[in-house]
């Protein structure tokens, strides 16, 4: 289990770092991540080919967003024909191999370049790739990993934690027939899914998931439930049973705590060969959701005993209303704190994996994989220092952002009291 948030509620009082530094780091990070293709690219920002104006670097971003094939090969082939070229500030892409500067060129030492415009400001690696370009494009990877994995982990963790905290072991009561029906539908859905995986027919896949999701909808939707209940009590069946949500959640958390996250990570990475950014974020979020579930559960446990909840219950507000409209707004600040710490630990996890050489495939540049190269060649201090500084700065800013929000949280609660 990735622990996202080791000092919950204790970071009150001072914000330990000037927040303008935090904000500056965050803005630079966002800026480089958004405009990576324009900041560091071997394709020019704009140029003329056969009298026609082209914007290759922007075309590249566009193709990435829309999922088209990259214009890179086309433009690299037209290199000689380009006129009135405006280059990107760093005229290298992270994967550009500058053969003349291969073999770890220091940022301070002499470089084999035609003019200062082509200088590798932070040096090169063994193959001659520019370190600064890698840093800029790595910031995009870090941002996507951080945000995606936290969002996925929050979606699961907050919902599960809220349900477990609010309902506990007894308060979500279902009619015995409802439970039986729901379990049956779920079992059939899972069986059909298994059949699909085992055999390989597509209609089974679809119907299996349709059935499984209708089961979930069925369990959640209160209209179906009330109708069922009326019909059942008409038949004289009224036995209900509490669903032990809290017990299930606590056991799950215990399991995630007892199995080392390294094992789960390695196992999943072995199953998914050469994971992309999306797969990586999902794997990290799988290890992170228990933390979110734990904090949300704790918040809901304490909040559900408050008077405003009882008032809402007296007003016969629905359970969905009480959970999402009454309690959730008060639980958001601590969850936001956890999210800020979550971003930093997701980035830490990804860069550690890439550093160990088990993360992305070799073409995908990330800060961790750049650091990995520093272990091969000790003289190249720039490979060890700069990517690590980037990771450090981002983690530091995210941590202090979390502290900042948690300080806001305490004042917010005080105002409520």
């Amino acid at each position: 289990m990735i622990e996202v948030f080791q000092n919950r509620g204790k970071a009150r009082g001072k914000v330990k770092m000037p927040t303008y530094l935090t904000m500056a780091i965050c803005f630079i990070w966002l800026f480089t991540a958004l405009f990576a293709d324009q900041l560091a690219n071997e394709l020019p920002l704009t140029c003329k080919i056969d009298g026609q104006r082209h914007f290759p670097a922007f075309r590249e971003t566009f193709s990435k967003v829309t999922g088209q094939s990259s214009p890179r090969i086309y433009y690299l082939g037209k290199k000689e024909k380009m006129e009135s070229v405006v280059r990107a500030p760093i005229p290298y892409s992270p994967q550009t191999i500058d053969r003349a500067n291969a073999g770890y060129k220091s940022p301070l030492g002499p470089q084999n370049i035609s003019s200062q415009r082509y200088r590798h400001w932070l040096g090169t690696d063994g193959m001659g790739r520019d370190v600064l370009a890698g840093l800029i494009h790595g910031s995009r990877v870090a941002l996507i990993i951080g945000l995606l994995s936290v969002m996925a982990a929050m979606l699961v963790g907050v919902l599960f934690g809220a349900a477990a905290g609010f309902f506990g072991d007894q308060r979500w009561r279902l009619n015995i027939l409802e439970i039986a029906g729901g379990t049956m539908i779920l079992t059939v859905g899972l069986y059909l899914l298994y059949l699909q995986l085992d055999y390989g027919g597509s209609w089974l896949y679809l119907s299996g998931w349709l059935l499984a999701s209708t089961a979930l909808v069925y369990l959640w939707s209160s209209t179906v439930k009330t109708r069922m209940r009326a019909a059942l009590s008409g038949l004289g069946i009224s036995g209900t049973m509490g669903i032990p949500l809290d017990l299930i959640l606590l056991r799950l958390i215990e399991i995630f705590r007892a199995v080392p996250s390294l094992f789960i990570l390695l196992a999943l990475l072995a199953i998914i060969e050469s994971p992309g950014i999306l797969e990586m974020s999902l794997i990290i979020s799988l290890l992170m959701w228990p933390a979110f579930a734990r904090y949300t559960r704790a918040e809901f446990l304490s909040l559900r005993e408050q008077e405003f909840v009882q008032a809402a219950q007296l007003l016969r507000r629905s359970k969905n209303y009480i959970i999402f409209r009454e309690i959730m707004p008060l639980a958001i600040p601590p969850i936001a704190v956890a999210a800020a710490f979550g971003v930093s630990s997701a980035i830490l996890a990804e860069s550690t994996l890439s550093f160990l050489g088990i993360g992305f495939s070799a073409e995908q540049v990330s800060w961790g994989s750049m650091l990995n190269e520093a272990r091969l060649y000790f003289r190249a201090w720039w490979l060890a220092v700069f990517p690590g500084m980037a990771i450090f700065a981002v983690i530091l800013s995210m941590n202090s952002l979390g502290d900042y929000i948690s300080k806001q949280k305490t004042t917010g609660i005080k105002m409520l009291d």
């Binding site: 080791q6 000092n7 204790k10 970071a11 009150r12 009082g13 001072k14 330990k16 770092m17 069986y191 298994y194 059949l195 085992d198 055999y199 089974l204 056991r251 215990e254 399991i255 705590r257 007892a258 199995v259 080392p260 390294l262 094992f263 789960i264 390695l266 196992a267 072995a270 199953i271 930093s344 830490l348 860069s351 550690t352 550093f355 160990l356 650091l371 520093a374 272990r375 000790f378 003289r379 201090w381 060890a384 220092v385 690590g388 990771i391 450090f392 983690i395 530091l396 941590n399 202090s400």
Partner: protein
């Protein structure tokens, strides 16, 4: 208290069961074949006509490892196919049989067909030489092993009549069988209801039971990579990890607690702010970056004569492999790893300590102590410190599993053959016996750590009651 502990232990048993299931099935999903690895065969499917000796060797290993048994006590599967095909050693044939069963829905028929095919490929070698069948159809076995659909089976059946005509081979019984079953398969229609689930009970002769029984009887098995017993492998590496963990823990608390107390109680603003910033930054430094920086700058003479302060990771590996490092030399190897591990811990402990101390110092008993005229030293160390330090006990409990399993990152960077490194290598080498053993020990230690933290917490603070 006793009831509480008993409840915790009892609740942990089902968790342990689920953990064992998760770990076991994850290890089965991960691609790779332990028997291939153990026999040194690169891929039994890769070579078209590979050596029969190697195949026999592979089959023997496969059975010896118990891979021919079903995975679990029972299995649920569609009526059209058998519960499992693990008695067949070659994965490609397993897949074909499954596919054929799905296409025809006739379990017994497909099995008989494959038995007949096996008999025929044996007979082509030993009995059908006289009628030149081997010359006619030398690659029968190859074709047969590749037939994974009704159409392919029909093709083979046709070829069987073509290549081994009755006048030459006298319709050898195995040829007859292949033709008969092949024709039946080619014309078979899948009966309605082939997808109806069926439960098969396998009893205790399954891989999971075998593995669990081995663990509980103290037989942890042998490493699948080098054949050494798992116990001896763990015994070899636990020493490194324990010493690193012990010293780094000692350093963490020896520095972190006084630092935290100092931060909470000092009146000197400038020192406080400086130290706070350092601690805060240290807390955010990625462990692997710190380790890399230390290795890059302080283990070689690249950056001046004096920077070669510590032994480099490759040196550490050489010496630990020989096992000839003396005590002091061994300690010098542990210096950097211990420093790295402790730095993050110090920051964490200091922050925790500072926060609890700040919270406690607002209490009335502190004001009371000052009012009584106690000196500041007595107030802080006699009254504040004991109350502020005991929440750290829960931290100690959380650290116990880490003591044994170690820090993988540190052990990989510094080439220390400890438990983390062993686990790392074993997962990559698919050495499941070793991985399982480490995970099992880790899971139990997690429980023990939590329980110990609970007990110590109750001992240290009589106000705490577990009901």
């Amino acid at each position: 208290m006793r009831n509480y502990l008993l409840k915790r232990v009892l609740l942990f048993l089902p968790t342990l069961f689920v953990i064992s299931l998760v770990v076991f099935f994850l290890s089965k999903i991960i691609p790779g074949d332990p028997a291939e690895r153990l026999t040194g065969i690169l891929s039994i499917e890769g070579d078209e006509h590979f050596d029969r000796g190697a195949m026999t060797n592979y089959q023997r290993t496969y059975r010896h490892l118990g891979l021919d048994r079903p995975l679990f006590y029972f299995s649920i599967h569609p009526r059209a196919r058998e519960a499992h095909f693990r008695d067949i050693e070659r994965p490609a044939i397993r897949k074909n049989i499954k596919q054929l069963m799905y296409e025809t829905g006739q379990v017994d028929l497909v099995r008989s067909y494959f038995e007949a095919g096996k008999a025929l490929s044996r007979d082509i070698q030993f009995q059908l030489y006289e009628c030149d069948a081997a010359v006619f159809w030398s690659d029968f076995e190859h074709q047969f092993n590749r037939a994974g659909s009704k159409a392919a089976v029909a093709e083979i059946t046709k070829n069987a009549l073509l290549f081994m005509p009755a006048e030459k081979c006298g319709f050898h019984p195995s040829v007859k069988d292949v033709v008969k079953y092949g024709n039946e398969i080619a014309s078979a229609e899948r009966p309605f209801g082939w997808w109806v689930p069926k439960l098969s009970w396998h009893g205790t002769q399954n891989q999971y039971h075998h593995w669990l029984a081995g663990i509980f009887s103290g037989d942890w098995g042998y490493s699948l990579r080098d054949g050494r017993s798992v116990g001896s492998k763990i015994r070899n590496s636990i020493g490194y990890t324990l010493s690193i963990s012990f010293f780094s823990l000692l350093l963490t608390f020896a520095v972190g607690i006084p630092l935290g107390m100092f931060l909470a109680t000092t009146k000197r603003k400038r020192y406080k702010e400086l130290l706070r910033t350092v601690v805060y930054a240290l807390y955010a430094v990625p462990l692997f970056w710190l380790a890399t920086l230390l290795v890059v700058f302080f283990t070689t003479e690249e950056y001046g004569k004096w920077t070669n302060l510590f032994p480099s990771p490759s040196q550490i590996m050489l010496h630990t492999m020989d096992g000839d490092a003396g005590f002091f030399q061994g300690m010098s190897y542990l210096l950097l790893p211990v420093l790295c591990l402790a730095s993050g811990g110090v920051a964490f402990v200091a922050r925790q300590m500072e926060q609890t101390a700040l919270r406690e110092s607002a209490s009335r008993y502190i004001a009371m102590s000052r009012l009584k005229g106690n000196s500041e030293v007595v107030t802080i160390w006699r009254h504040l410190f004991p109350n502020a330090v005991f929440p750290l006990i829960t931290l100690l409990g959380a650290l116990i599993p880490g003591l044994i399993s170690g820090s993988v990152v540190i052990e990989v960077i510094f080439n220390i053959p400890g438990m983390g490194r062993l686990m790392w290598d074993s997962i990559f080498g698919q050495d499941w016996n070793v991985v399982f053993a480490i995970l099992f020990i880790g899971a139990i230690l997690t429980l023990v750590g939590q329980l110990m933290a609970d007990i110590l917490y109750a001992r240290a603070n009589p106000k705490v009651r577990y009901d």
